[in-house]
Symmetry: C2
Subunit: 329 residues, 2 copies
């Protein structure tokens, strides 16, 4: 990464779908390396076309096997598939059984498939800015479908439904306790529920229970389907259902594209303010304010207001905060 | 709430522990009512003494019954107890069985107990700023112990361990599946694990499993205890264990008080930037930037940088953003 970033070259490579360039582009944006700001501006302009499918569910439900089936099915329909995995228990991110890892290799020679695992969490929990930017890179690289895999609890769940046009929840054929646990969040974010391992006992009953309790984000009843990720049974029907919902989302795209921009902008703001504060704290004298707060001589809101007033002098990238020290009485 | 906020009077009431004043103070801060900024500055200065105990665990584990036992035990030791509940499934926040609600009434005539339920989530998930401020109010009102009750999944879990000096995880005597689910987050945030409903079968085995898998935030083995919240059996021993950890935390207080201030300040910054952006968007012309982002003519980071540069002119409370409109090319 020592040579100067040649944005034009890298951008060409990404747009041609060159794997090495895609990997490098994601790393540059994830690690915020020099030149990343200008590069991201170019990447972002070239996106907005990919369909993002969120895939969430508890560990052990068979998400990664199902994703393998989905990749195969989407490929058979001639679509390029990217996978961004943020689930720490996923084999894609490394917490894997050997069997799962080996199966991944199926796709490793196919230029129409790109798989990338990301750091799990942003500074505020949920998806990191880097994850969003990885999706933007795959979008610019003309991947038709981007699978966003997450364990989907807590803040990640909120972020998935913001980023993905359609969200798939993968569950096991179990009732009672697992449905109770699901209520903690997953039951309200799915557009499609997949009861995986459908050959196990209880699959029909689980599907019925989910149909009864779950609702999608717009309040309607979600689609409930059964699959077997071991054999990929039920996956063609699943992709049909996804495509149907995707077509609906695409028809409504104008509005949610705008929503997505607001989220992106608010997150970029939060992340930039946090970074500017952290990087500029010593030089700007904000550490003195922090000490006052620690001594309870000043409250955090008052300190924050002073900092925001001064922050305009400390933005700017990649040169870092400008040297300008102020004394705070 | 129409009369002008008399900060001095309200502050006196809070410091005397007057319930009505405490309730009003929390509402003023939670809803960010006029005068809240100056009032919060006064409240914050008067805090820093209370011991905050996080109480988390899955729905149905008996958190609220256990909290009733804890209140009773702390009261018998002469301490004032505040409860701030952010768990949407908790009877304290309204999602209750009638039996639980009735038991709450036990404490309703005791001036040494104050219970408040809060909106569950901040804008970024996790605890809201209002929740933190409620704790600051109870702190200023000289409550010795503040119980922070949360379901503790996802972002809330991260926030609890930041805010609470000691975190208690309440679990049921079940093994296998529930332990698996716990791994999703709770297993790594507890200083003390309580196997509640210890009269049920499997309690000993669950305690053993937890002792094996769990670790506290500093990496050490957590304390594992058994209680029965129905009879309050085991609760005196639990409070002894809490007190022991609290003493350790107090001895180390200087350092984590500073950490807490950094978190408070970063959150205040994030929350103020978000609000300033939302409230000032139209007047400042930032909606034009947002539209550019939505049309992919500009990336979110570049838009955020422009906004931060201008934001200094739009802070200030309670008057709201100043009128100053700019055109963005």
């Amino acid at each position: 990464m020592k040579r100067t970033l040649k944005i034009g070259e890298l951008l060409d490579g990404v747009q041609r779908g060159n794997r090495k360039d895609i990997s490098r582009a994601i790393t540059i944006l994830e690690d915020d390396l020099p030149g990343s700001r200008q590069f991201y501006a170019e990447i972002y302009r070239r996106g907005g076309n990919a369909f993002v499918l969120g895939v969430a569910g508890p560990p052990g439900a068979g998400k990664s096997s199902l994703i393998n089936c989905l990749i195969r099915e989407f490929r058979s329909r001639g679509r390029k598939v990217g996978v961004v995995a943020v689930d720490p228990t996923s084999p894609f991110t490394g917490g894997a059984l050997l069997g799962d890892r080996i199966r991944m290799v199926d796709h490793s020679l196919d230029e129409g498939v790109y798989i990338r695992s990301m750091a799990t969490r942003g500074s505020k929990g949920g998806l990191s800015r880097g994850t969003k930017k990885a999706i933007d890179v795959l979008d610019a690289a003309k991947f038709d479908v981007i699978l966003l895999e997450s364990v989907g609890i807590g803040q990640t769940e909120v972020d998935i439904i913001r980023v993905a046009q359609v969200t798939l929840i993968v569950v096991m054929p179990e009732t009672g306790d697992s449905v109770q646990a699901m209520k903690a969040g997953l039951m309200e974010i799915g557009d499609i529920f997949v009861v995986n391992k459908a050959d196990l006992e209880g699959a029909d009953r689980a599907a019925l229970e989910i149909a009864q309790f779950a609702r999608s984000k717009d309040g309607s009843k979600p689609v409930v389907l059964k699959t077997s990720a071991r054999t990929c049974d039920g996956v063609p029907e699943l992709v049909d259902a996804i495509d149907k919902l995707a077509a609906g989302a695409r028809a409504a795209k104008k509005s949610w594209a705008g929503d997505g921009a607001l989220d992106d902008l608010r997150e970029a703001l939060g992340s930039m303010v946090d970074r500017t504060f952290t990087e500029g704290a010593a030089e700007a004298g904000w550490t003195e304010l922090l000490e006052k707060v620690a001594r309870r001589e000043m409250d955090p809101d008052s300190a924050a207001e002073l900092i925001i007033r001064e922050m305009s002098g400390f933005t700017g990238h990649p040169s870092g905060p400008r040297r300008r020290k102020r004394a705070h009485r």
